[in-house]
């Protein structure tokens, strides 16, 4: 067997991290995307830019600041400590929080685009058919934006699987806790274990390719009213 127990543990941890992050991102990202798509507030530009920052910043920069802010002397760290929760860095929870920030734009942007292209009309139609705003969101907006939710989930998941810099800064490389596949590959290479590095790296290439292939070859749904 070319993969060691440590490798399997890294794979399991990565899948756990990506799944949890994706679920959290859908919960947190949907209202943010909705707000960005609907608001006329002047804050729209500011929030949109903050959400998009991970697209351009080096992951190490995000990891570094998250580390500083949530470390024992950082403001978030002080709060988590006073609540008796300890600190986030070098824990799985810390990784999840970091991943949520890091993958945010990959979930928020497709959803925001979908909500924007749905436009006002379906909401108005639903209102004239007695649907209150919540009802309308769940019975009209969600079904109409469903393909974009699939896209957002896939991108969020895949992007979290592929992160390295943030994980290394925030999580280090603690087996079973913070050592994800990308970190494991790095460790194999450091230890000159190229064969094992190949198996994992090759697996990542295949995984990413299949995900993107599925995404790009699916019929793109155009939201809109008939």
């Amino acid at each position: 067997m070319p993969l060691s127990d440590h490798d399997f543990s890294a794979i399991r941890l990565t899948l756990e991290l990506a799944s949890l992050t994706t679920v959290l991102l859908l919960i947190v990202g949907t209202p943010i995307a909705w707000w960005l798509a609907r608001t006329r507030s002047r804050l729209k530009g500011l929030i949109g830019a903050v959400v998009a920052l991970p697209l351009v910043l080096p992951p190490t920069v995000i990891g570094f600041y998250l580390l500083v802010v949530s470390g024992p002397h950082g403001p978030v760290g002080q709060i988590t400590q006073s609540l008796g929760l300890g600190t986030l860095p070098f824990t799985f929870t810390g990784l999840v929080v970091a991943s949520v920030f890091y993958s945010m734009p990959f979930v928020v942007q497709p959803l925001q685009n979908a909500f924007e292209s749905i436009g006002d009309r379906p909401l108005e139609v639903a209102a004239t058919l007695r649907a209150n705003p919540w009802d309308c969101f769940f019975t009209v907006v969600l079904p109409m934006a469903r393909p974009s939710f699939v896209t957002a989930s896939i991108l969020g998941f895949a992007h979290t699987v592929g992160e390295f810099g943030v994980v290394l800064m925030m999580g280090g490389s603690i087996p079973d806790k913070t050592r994800t596949v990308s970190v494991q590959i790095f460790d194999h290479v450091e230890a000159m274990e190229y064969a094992q590095a190949h198996w994992l790296a090759g697996g990542m290439v295949v995984f990413s390719f299949i995900v993107l292939l599925a995404l790009y070859s699916s019929r793109r749904f155009k939201p809109g009213l008939a």
Partner: protein, 381 residues
């Protein structure tokens, strides 16, 4: 503002019983909205039954007005009462949100939900009304001829079918008011012709007030009982269809459509020449053969451009319809070269659009008896 306030205070005084009774039937709407470059300021007093057409050019504020009534647009200052229910009163801080107003809205494009079948679209609103308000939808499906489409998805429907489903979807919520924003505008002539008869049947069979936006004079003449003319966010005229269409004092933007609508009855069929005689108050006209039985009521429209005048009954003409008329008054038309002349035909009013030169040469003056040649009669069926 003052008039709304008066209306409110009046309502609270039991001494003005008739006003109160009147208030419970009808639609009272006052809206004032200011946008950059556009101001809507309307004061509407509409009957609580029948079809009221909001007529005007694009940009006249028709749609904004309808959206205010639906609550899709919130007027800066507004008062709205529909058959006794208060829907908006900015002074009292009342604004009932759209989803709590018992109304049906038909948009210009059918706007069906793409993820639901025809049945799902129809059921969407119906599921959300009070159980006791739900009635069988078979009648409405029949009226609109969509019973066979229930299991189709919206993208498998033609434009006309979609619009009929859109109308049915609004109707099955059993609304107290039906708002229609140019429901035929997105359709070609053939599809329009396909839907118009359905709309007429609706108006005859359903007893709810309908506000209907249109910029087509023929559509208005055919469907409406009551008209509101809007221009640049202002109400230019409102009243019964026939009186309002026969007015001469409307601004130039409307005079290009000047014409009258006459209510008539099928009086005689001439089988030899394939003609039908229609009687109206004060006279009759001959038209090409109609399929309707004797006694059937029909509306026809006579465009002011199709009426000419002469001192004597013209002999040797191919024009069939020549009526004795008395000149009521003369007004300016849409061009400086023309005038509009209002004619009394034994109680019915016609309008002729003739050149000012002819008017002067013939010495046409109020009270004069003349003959009118009617070149075309458009039947609105």
């Amino acid at each position: 503002m003052r008039s709304w306030f008066n209306r409110l205070t009046n309502k609270e005084q039991p001494s003005v019983e008739p006003t109160q009774a009147k208030n419970t039937q009808g639609i009272y709407a006052r809206f004032h909205i200011q946008y950059p470059g556009f101001e809507l300021k309307v004061d509407l007093d509409l009957p609580g039954h029948g079809v009221t057409a909001l007529f005007g050019h694009s940009g006249s504020g028709k749609t904004t007005c309808l959206r205010c009534i639906a609550g899709l647009e919130q007027a800066d200052i507004g008062y709205l009462e529909v058959n006794g229910e208060l829907w908006q009163d900015t002074q009292a801080g009342v604004f009932i949100p759209t989803h709590k107003r018992s109304l049906g809205y038909v948009f210009q494009e059918a706007s069906l939900f793409p993820h639901l079948s025809v049945r799902g679209n129809l059921a969407y609103g119906r599921k959300r009304i009070d159980r006791t308000q739900r009635t069988s939808w078979d009648h409405i499906l029949d009226l609109l001829g969509i019973g066979h489409l229930l299991d189709r998805m919206p993208d498998r429907l033609s434009g006309g079918e979609r619009q009929r489903v859109g109308i049915a979807r609004a109707l099955v919520t059993n609304p107290r008011l039906l708002l229609m924003d140019e429901p035929l505008a997105a359709l070609d002539l053939k599809r329009k012709g396909e839907i118009l008869p359905y709309l007429e049947r609706l108006n005859q069979e359903l007893d709810i007030p309908v506000l209907y936006i249109s910029h087509s004079p023929d559509e208005v003449a055919r469907l409406a009982d009551h008209v509101v003319l809007l221009d640049q966010g202002q109400v230019i005229a409102q009243g019964g269809l026939q009186e309002t269409m026969a007015r001469l004092d409307l601004p130039a933007v409307f005079t290009e459509h000047t014409g009258v609508v006459i209510e008539a009855r099928v009086a005689e069929h001439d089988d030899e020449y394939h003609l039908t005689r229609l009687d109206f108050v004060g006279g009759s006209v001959l038209v090409t053969e109609r399929p309707e039985p004797l006694g059937q009521r029909l509306r026809f429209r006579v465009d002011a451009r199709d009426v000419s005048l002469s001192h004597h009954r013209v002999e040797g003409t191919s024009v069939m319809n020549i009526l004795p008329v008395r000149i009521m008054d003369i007004a300016t038309a849409d061009t400086p070269a023309h005038v509009l002349v209002r004619l009394d035909v034994g109680g019915s009013i016609f309008i002729a659009r003739i050149t000012r030169r002819s008017c002067d040469q013939l010495g046409i003056a109020q009270g004069m008896d003349m003959w009118a040649q009617i070149k075309a009669v458009a039947l609105l069926v």
